[in-house]
Amino acid sequence: MKSFISSLLIFFTCVSYSQTTINSSTFGMMEARWLGPGTMSGRITAIEGVAQDGKTLYVGTAGGGIWKSTNAGASFKPIFDKYCQSIGAIAIDPQNPKVIYAGTGESNMRNTVSIGDGLYKSNDAGDNWVKLGLEKTEHIAKIVINPVNTNIIYVAAPGPLWNSSKERGLYKSTDSGKTFEKILFVSEDAGCADVSVDPNHPDTVYASSWEFRRKPYSFNSGGNGSGFWKSTDGGKTWKEIKNGLPVKPFGRIAFAVAPSAPQNVVAVVEAAETGLYISADGGENWKKQSATFNVVSRPFYFATIVIDPKDPKRVYRPALSFSYSNDGGYSFADATNDGGWVHSDHHALWINPNNTNQLYLGTDGGVYISLDRGATWNFVPCLPVGQFYHVALDDRKPYNIYGGLQDNGSWTGPSAAAGGVTNGMWKAINGGDGFWVQPDPNDIYTAYAESQGGNINRINLVNNKAVVIKPQQAPGEEKLRWNWNTPLVFGAANKKNLYAGSQYLYKSTDQGRNWLRIAPDLTTNDKKKQEQENSGGLSADNTSAENHCTIFTIAESPLDEKMIWAGTDDGNLQYTADGGKTWVNVSANYARAGIPAQTWVSSIEPSRFDKKRVYATFDNHMYGDHKTYLGRSDDMGKTWTLISSAEFTGFAHKIKEDLVNKDLLFLGTEMGLFATLDGGRNWFRMKNKIPEYALVRDIQIHPRTHDLVIATHGRGILIVDDISPIRRLTKEMAEKNVVLFPNEPITLTTGQFGNGGFPVTGGWVAPNPPSISPIKYYLKERASMGEVKVDIYDPEGRLVQSIPGGKRKGVNMVEWNLCMKPPKVASGGTKIDFSGFLAPMVLPGEYTVKLKVGDSVYTSRLKLVHDAADKNFTLEDRKKQYKTATDLYKLHEQLADVVDTINARQKLIKENLTKVQDSVLKKKMEQYHDELEKLRGECLATKQKSVFADEKKLREEITEVYGGVTGQEAAPSNLQVQRTTVLQQEVKKKEEAQKQVLKKYDGEVMTGLRKEGLVKPPPGEKKGF
């Protein structure tokens, strides 16, 4: 029996293999646009440069992978998009700079820190990567390579943040990372935070161990596991460094060994009283220094201290701000803001060892470059690694994007703009850390934004003035508890309803001027989880980041404004069906489906197709459980199905149901974006220029443009434009070899934007979506054999355009600019005439699209319509424009014929001139050539080669008018029409002149050439004529 079942299983496996699998490749050319922006960039965790060239840089980010520059920071490209996006440390082999190590899992252990999945290596400067191991360490703080024997590598792993684990400590490899041995392990609660080797005696190794633990509602830095260690035998034996250091327990210790005088060591030691300590004897004895606030601030978050590669007295302390010392750490000064503000919260510093004036600094707001040893800084504006928490959209044309970011406030920017979306088009509208930002659906001049802990503002988008609208504690209520990331949402059914949640749920229908509390405390109100004043450990740290027993997510049913769902960070999911009069807690119900208690309810999605259906995501990572929890209930939360997939990775942040196809769902997790087209039975990881392990925090779908807008925590905003082809793709369609999608009518236009203006001078530039809807088709398999092209026929059946088609598996898109083929322009001359790239736009009507794939042809209709709403360009105007444009088009082709004839005759003369015997004939030929050349010189510019010397002849004269009339959305002016008539006469004259020259010479010259046997008689003529 068992064997029978197995056979059956294999049989079914085979069957499913033969079917077309719908996955990310089905999206084909529907790829993400990277909106960025680079304006505020995002948290940088590691920067390493290649000493040998001083211009190759690797930048590790908190949630955007690794970016490489080969030009000292002028431009970057991402090189780690197939792997975990949270980077803890990078190291470059000092002897072979093509060898790069990357440790995943940032070690700046803030509340929102992401996790890693091990250590990676590249042997070819970042083109290809392999995972070496250490998967379960989750966080890697530093990688150090022995400078003499680069096969020896040390990896400092603080280890898992939310639970006890053996997978932490200091690891050593002696075979370039093939195998690792744990050489320093203190306890399951204390990992390794920092490591250095003495460059002169590389068996001398320093390391700090760190006891640190987070809970969802507090954290603790410090304990008996924290310590400072030294080994002189490459890590075989260790002794604890103590002399002169403060009394234990320690917290986190950051330290640096002076590369040019390694007996000098500096350390920032977190203790009851955190201080800066200096040793001049290799760590044997220490002396405390007076230090500024910045030098000792927030040790768990600022763990970088660096000594100049050449000057042991020059010490850098990037922390809350940037401090430097010229005297070995006795005194510090701060960077100035001349040249611009330097974003606070620093985590990485690279100094070019061959030019120690040149520094690269990584902050919570991107990378900065200094050329004066850190006194002043220039911002690098081309790293789009912002950490959005949420995203919202408005309905303007083009629509705007709104969102808040880690340590970077709240912003709004356009989804498209003339020339592309650039940094400067984004506007900061609120400070602090940013989370939810909501445009007012009823008032285009108003948006709502917040900073951490529920500080909600109503913002005037014109002048950026803010009104504080945070709800306040009422008499008899408990102190309000606001999440770090307080929910602030508009109703999906009634767009006047604005909701916000502390432990209570509030609603306003007048832009936050008046609030109504519509729920009791919806949390568990567990007092043990509300002792945030005691959080931080050795250094008190209570910033609202650990606030707990709060509402975390709110959603109004799109089908009923009285039906509201609220989820909390402590495991409650509650709904009301009567606008808040009564509430039902369904948490016990989903627990039965296997979703743990106390879990954060990270998102709720009431269905827009079925009032009783609701989806929710649950995030349990703060209890050390990284599983992906996605639940669905079809009975108002009474019973739940846990939706799972082998594809899923990362704890879940957001579930989004499509607006049209109820079976199309998107799931965003800490490690990827996933989609299903069958209501959740089969899921696939989205790629298509979406980093495969992107930290996806929020997902929106624009109701008008059908764009999928993704808020990532490390790659800014990503947009997949117009997902409607995927909505329509049924399983049956996916089985077909080719599907040509029906075309929506297209309004005739040259596009959304003009081409004017100047190129962008720097920063991140996001491309625009196609402004004319492309012709779309689906290919089941990539077309490797046979031609793929799209032919377009006008209503009379004439071929107007032929465009090579995409060949990729999945949805292909062919962009047609709605124009005919450009005219043939007079060939030759000294410059390229741009009329050869320009064609009149076709007229409205029913067109036919013929898609040719190999030997098969697929046909669809394409209706082109005039925009009747455009008062500046009526249908009558369009017809006039078309007539003049095609008149000029014809003139170009007529002139091209004249010039072709001239060119052919001149070629013939040149080929035979040296061969001709008869001197009279030769003379005649020279005269003939000269007269042709004179005429040619009147037809087109033949003399001036410099682009700065305008030589204007008839071809160029036609182009001036043609270029204007053809490219504009307006009727031609009276003078453009008049000028066309003049040019028609001019062309006629040239045709006549060409005939005259031929008449004068051609018979005689041709006869002479035939006589000499240099040209054959024309076909049909008898020999000997």
Binding site: R782, M785, K807, K821, P822, G829, A839, K945, S946
Partner: protein
Amino acid sequence: MKRILFAFLFIAAATAVFGQTADEIINKHIEAIGGAEAWKKVNSVKMEGTIQVQGAELAVTITVLNGKGARQDLSIMGMTGYQIVTPAEGWNYMPFQGQTTPEAMTAEDLAESQDDLDAQGNLIDYAAKGHTVELLGKDDVEGTECYKLKITKKGGKSETIYVDPKSHLILRSVEIRKANGQEIEVATNYSNYEKLPEGIIVPKSMTLPFGELILSKITINGDVDETAFKK
């Protein structure tokens, strides 16, 4: 019994997939494009086609005479530019942006370009020609999971190719080209593979970053004179 057989087949298939070496993939690829024997008969190749650039057509002719010369001509609206490589010299002439006279290739560029004189393609007898090939694993090319191989050529240039595991045709190549002291990655996608009368199979469509080159005519072993490789 049947079950065991099935299981065995699955394991065998799995091993085959993971056990492919670079040489096995290259050999299958060469079989897929007509076999080494047919390719070794190729002495000259002339390919003519067009690239559509914003609706205008750019005429392209590529000529290779094995070991003697390689030439690319680009022509638009009567203006023609070219690149020539021979064992002794190389020239670039691109008048479209105002260049008035051909420019000689640097000795370094010329040395690197010598591998372009191979009319049979670098993969036929690659080891004997002094190239090395490394299998880098698998990678996605527009939704097709391909073998990724890196070819380091004798002249020093390297190229990464992506081979479709089903058809063993090359779907994409990525070359690092040096220009003005910077390295630029140029990716080309290949399609419309067609068998020629000579028995070799060649792509008639090459998608470059700025447009698609569609070949209309391919002449194998036609008369190509060495004088064609003069500036």
